[in-house]
Symmetry: C2
Subunit: 451 residues, 2 copies
Amino acid sequence: MEGYTRQLARFAVHSRPGDVPSEIRHEGTRALVNWIGLPINACRHDTTERAIAAFAEFSGPRQASLLGRSEKLDIFKAAFINCIASCIADYDDTHLATVIHPTGPVASTILALAEHRKIAGSDFLHALILGVEAQCRLARALAVAPAKCDAAWFLTGITGGIGAAIAAARLLGLNEQQMVWAIGAAAARASGTRETHGTMGKNLVPAWTAEEGLQSAFLARQDFTTSDTILEGPRGLGHLYTREANFPALIAGLGEHWELTQNAYKPFPSGIVTHGAITGALEIAQEWRPDPGAIRRVELEVHPWCLHLTGWREPRTALEATFSVYHWVAVALIERRIGIRQFSDTCVADPLVVALRDRVEARPNEAFTRDEAMVRVRLSDGRLLERHVAHALGSSERPMDDAALSAKLHDLADGVIGECAAGLLAERCWNIERTPDASVIVAAACGGGEG
Amino acid sequence: MEGYTRQLARFAVHSRPGDVPSEIRHEGTRALVNWIGLPINACRHDTTERAIAAFAEFSGPRQASLLGRSEKLDIFKAAFINCIASCIADYDDTHLATVIHPTGPVASTILALAEHRKIAGSDFLHALILGVEAQCRLARALAVAPAKCDAAWFLTGITGGIGAAIAAARLLGLNEQQMVWAIGAAAARASGTRETHGTMGKNLVPAWTAEEGLQSAFLARQDFTTSDTILEGPRGLGHLYTREANFPALIAGLGEHWELTQNAYKPFPSGIVTHGAITGALEIAQEWRPDPGAIRRVELEVHPWCLHLTGWREPRTALEATFSVYHWVAVALIERRIGIRQFSDTCVADPLVVALRDRVEARPNEAFTRDEAMVRVRLSDGRLLERHVAHALGSSERPMDDAALSAKLHDLADGVIGECAAGLLAERCWNIERTPDASVIVAAACGGGEG
């Protein structure tokens, strides 16, 4: 039987845009609309600024834009910067079964490429879909069951470069063997640790996957050889990262079943595993509007991963607060809505937020699904406000609709490029399939209208 | 107690060149002399050419030389290219206890930096020593025992970037916190798989560590934050890569005991675990000069890792032959000497070599040390030529002396830059501590004399 790596590569080389069902193409478009506001919003975040300051003097030909800004960098560094910016608020997408965030590495990579060579919108979307699909399937194969995929690995760092490489290789027109090598190169150092969480460094993990993925495609184009069996080989990713990989899941029903449909868009800028509890807190806040000062205690029951990944008690910055379910539940109860404005150091230091956060308690419930939560708000007058959340807002079961995604884009981008440009950007993303030149997305994302 | 990452960082920041004993400084110089010929020799290898072809058009300011060539690239890409070239022949150095190859990522990185800013030779050597020392100690901490460090991990990929980052951070004058962050950034995606072995992709693993390590230092200089506990934290490298890390070994006796002394220089261009068998075969060939055609069978006993890592039966290229102990034992018996000329696809395809290779058998001996070997050559006339090798040539017990390292440099570089330039290069390397500007090394390595 042919190797799994080669089967994946063959699919990626031979799939045609028209082979992808229209509802999947629409889902890919939704992934783009969900993501595109993020690098714009964070284009002047300290994380982004410091990375640009570190690298700009070493940039090659300034062909590729930094979304939301006027500068350009070489395509590798632009992919890196746009990806790093897009990850900062933890507000991107999540393949819930594996907790990877697949769009960032791929979209950053192919947007940079779209300024290097002319790419039709339909090909751009197709490459995005292939790169995201490959990542979700690979993550499935590696994360057979939660117990087998230690939560200390930052799985996006393992899969991201491979998705980026596949998308870029596709757009560079590589043949099947070159596609295998592109995957092999991108997987050579595929990894990532969650020890970086809560720091700027967390965002390095996906950002370097974008850069290395793009480089991998250019290497493969030169027939730079690497392993033909980097995924399934005896020393490949399956062996390294699992006790037993499920590679049949990598290739089963390719082109028929789309794992992309299991990719969820975040309504809140925080770790996905907080979303069940946030949903419950928001619903309680909106229904009963309790006075935060009158809340004696908040009790949460959550999936164990919620505390494992986002159990930080005393976050000091917005970067850290991403990993604090206590913080976000307090914010939800106080603000009664959550958007990008709540992702700020000011909000994290707000005495009202801190005081309520300290009154939030949580315990794991092994029987819960990952986005399930029970939220109990006990008031000083003895009343109990209670909400069981079977599925979080933004989950596959309660997805953000197209209008909500457009609203998210505006929430993220209006303050940077203006409402008009953000509207144009949304329109161009929704119409990506029909544009002859995908770089018009970039032009709009930088606040201009010219393609 | 302070974290291990911070203790390592503090040492790297506060150590002064004069604190390092002269014999250790000499050992660092030997590491440089051993290594410097490698990127020169391989500067036009297909692997190098294809990587340059992939990346040159995206280069930033062309400040840093590609050793052996006339072109320059930006410092990140030059570090990448020089490191990748230096790894191709598997002829660099090896910390035998952990089988990492520490000099490549560090030397490539700081040579590029030496063309970006003026660096005194003594500081250059000091940074090299700190970067190599950190890697060897980290590898010790992670590879507690062979059983705990699965040989599928390419440990150089885990440690290389950290060594490169420490060396570069030192030369950029970073403070202690920035040094911690530089380590944290370089470790964020630290990894590598040996599934790449036998292909050009094997060399991507160390090459990317050089580039990311250098980038990590520049990020940290901008106060780009990352974990303070990337090594010992609950989701750090110790947790990810070992069942139980030995972090005390990382910091015990820093500045007093030097793990650098356990770094061995290779006399043969092949995987280090083949060297015991090659030594035995060479000694038999040189002592008894058997006619290769009269050799009926060759029987090897070797450490299990020799077969695990270099047990390839039918290598097709020099890149693959690196991992074939059968091939190299045959070459040793036929050629009676081994140098860089034997690292060639022609040699691998030589019918005489192939025929003898197919008559070599090997079995693991659990009781052997890693560089121990028993070689038995059975001749058609019934004679048995036998040699037990307690320690391989090039091991810590039978190290290459300074003259042998100079000869290796000439063997590698004469054919590319000429004997005269190679001699000048050797002289400058041996005198590195006394030069006010380390970039004179680069000038000589590119065939010029001007610093």
